[in-house]
Amino acid sequence: MPNLFTLVLQIAVILAVCRAVGGLFRLLHQPRVVGEMFAGILLGPSLLGWVAPHLSAYLFPASSLGYLSALSQVGVVIFMFLVGLGINPKELKSQGHAAVLTSHVSITAPFVLASFLALYLYPRLSDDSVAFTHFALFMGAAMSITAFPVLARILTERNALGSRLGTLAIACAAVDDVTGWCILAYIVTLIRAAKSSTPIWMTLSGIIVFAVIMIYGVRRLLRRFEAVYSRSGSLSESLMAFMLLLVLASALCTEALGIHLLFGAFLMGAIMPKEHHFVRYVLDRFETITVTMLLPLFFAFTGLRTNIALLKGPGMWVYCGLIILVATAGKLGGSMLASWLAGMGLRESAGLGTLMNTRGLMELVILNIGLDVKVISPALFSMMVIMALVTTFMTTPVLELICPLRSTAKEPAGAEVTLAQLSLKLNPTDRSAA
């Protein structure tokens, strides 16, 4: 049984610290979520465990972390459903060649550069229980992801969602996320199959059958949610509970198939109807508790697994610097080059590259999966978390340098944007409703 006092105390401390640090980051014109990610690190062994080990041991005893982990994973399952729900890859079609080229290059460039870096890092930061192929593919997938939700928040806060740069960035990020999660699902399947008695062809066949059933069968069923919403303007509590059950069932199916809970949740969101009012309604219902309570628990849990003290000596910091350099060169450089060659101006291309380099929360989700399946070591996990923080933090100031805000277009500082508002803003016809 969990020690309820400890668990509730943990939740209270995490929420307080995340809100406080998130608020401080708002003053720095950073999205609150970046501050919350940083707060998670502060609560872990990198700061609290280092300066006040007794307090850290009292607040976060090792025996209690299983419950915190479970709660945070439930939060991430729902969050991945919301991310899938907010993504509409069809938006790419209206963007033409520039978007296709940029989105594909923004995946392949960091992926390939990361695999080259893997040649150097594998003998230094991995061990012989991990195959090089798995290590290199995971590094590639982890570096090629873009944090769609954080990117959308940054664009919204700059009032740039309707601009060419904004719509292109959102479309590319949507494609990146869908592609990135497909690649990651494949890699996790490979890794788990190597340690399982089930043949990989059986696992892959199961996943393909599951995906086909979801896309061509369950998707039709999901349209009824939208139909009910269109008729009555709302969904009953029973229907919302049924939707949540479907998310959990999908998550359980992918876990049982040998990939991960999160893929099922993401897929369920991705195949949901994309009518913007419906999307906004569902996001509104799920988002508040997920974003304000469960995600901070995930940040704290990630922070508790991140130990910057593992980066001992200048050599380890050189590896960390290389990771940040390669991640930025691949994502920012690749996207910038592709969009410039596709006909965008240099400044706009640089802006797009900077936006695509935002990794944020999605990176943390992927890294936690990597640590769970033991494809990355604790030290490499910590380096990659630092990379995620640096690349996300740098987005706003670098973007301000490249494409300064027009003061008239700026929303008030401190304004927080939810995925639901984003869904509304993405659809120009709804501006009046906003």
Binding site: L101, H104, A109, V112, S115, F116, L119, P123, S126, V130
Partner: protein
């Protein structure tokens, strides 16, 4: 099918250069990386069994005695190790693996270091040789308490626990 426009031709050429060629590069990297060797894996929970005949009776040798049939967790990042003792008062130290040789030191908690006959800088030193072919992986070596003048080194053998056994252990 009509002729491909010059814009589409340009797009195709750029696409092949920026997407197709890098993917070929990726294939090359994956191929050449197969020859790389990473350090031997020692990550996980190990069950330690010490030679009971040489165990000190108590005092500052107590930490050595408590290692008999105990679990030790090793967290690995390349050659770097974090070694955590799960017996009695928890303690964690660092180590390194070179080839099949493991060396680690674990500073003991103050309660152990303050025991009669102990130096203030009481450290447990582990030296072991890994058998990489054994399944489950095993090691054997010696443990000594640096701050305990009267304690002899103790021989030990350790076997890495399987995942289910690790879960049971927690």
């Amino acid at each position: 099918m009509g002729p491909i426009s010059s814009a589409n031709k340009k797009f195709l050429v750029i696409y092949v250069l920026l997407v197709g060629l890098p993917l070929l590069g990726l294939a090359g990297v994956l191929r050449s990386g197969r020859g790389l060797r990473a350090p031997i894996s020692v990550d996980g929970v190990w069950r330690f069994r010490t030679d009971s005949a040489n165990l000190p009776a108590g005092g500052c040798g107590q930490p050595l005695a408590s290692l008999q049939d105990s679990l030790v967790t090793i967290s690995q990042s390349g050659k770097g190790l974090v070694v955590s003792l799960n017996n009695g008062a928890p303690a964690a130290g660092s180590g390194v693996i070179e080839g099949t040789t493991l060396n680690a030191t674990v500073p003991l908690p103050e309660t152990s270091a303050n025991a009669p006959g102990c130096a203030s800088d009481n450290l447990l030193t582990l030296r072991a040789t890994i058998d990489p072919k054994a399944d489950p992986r095993s090691m054997q070596g010696t443990i000594s308490a640096n701050g305990c003048a009267s304690c002899a080194s103790v021989q030990y053998q350790a076997v890495r626990q399987t995942r289910s056994a690790r879960s049971d252990a927690h």
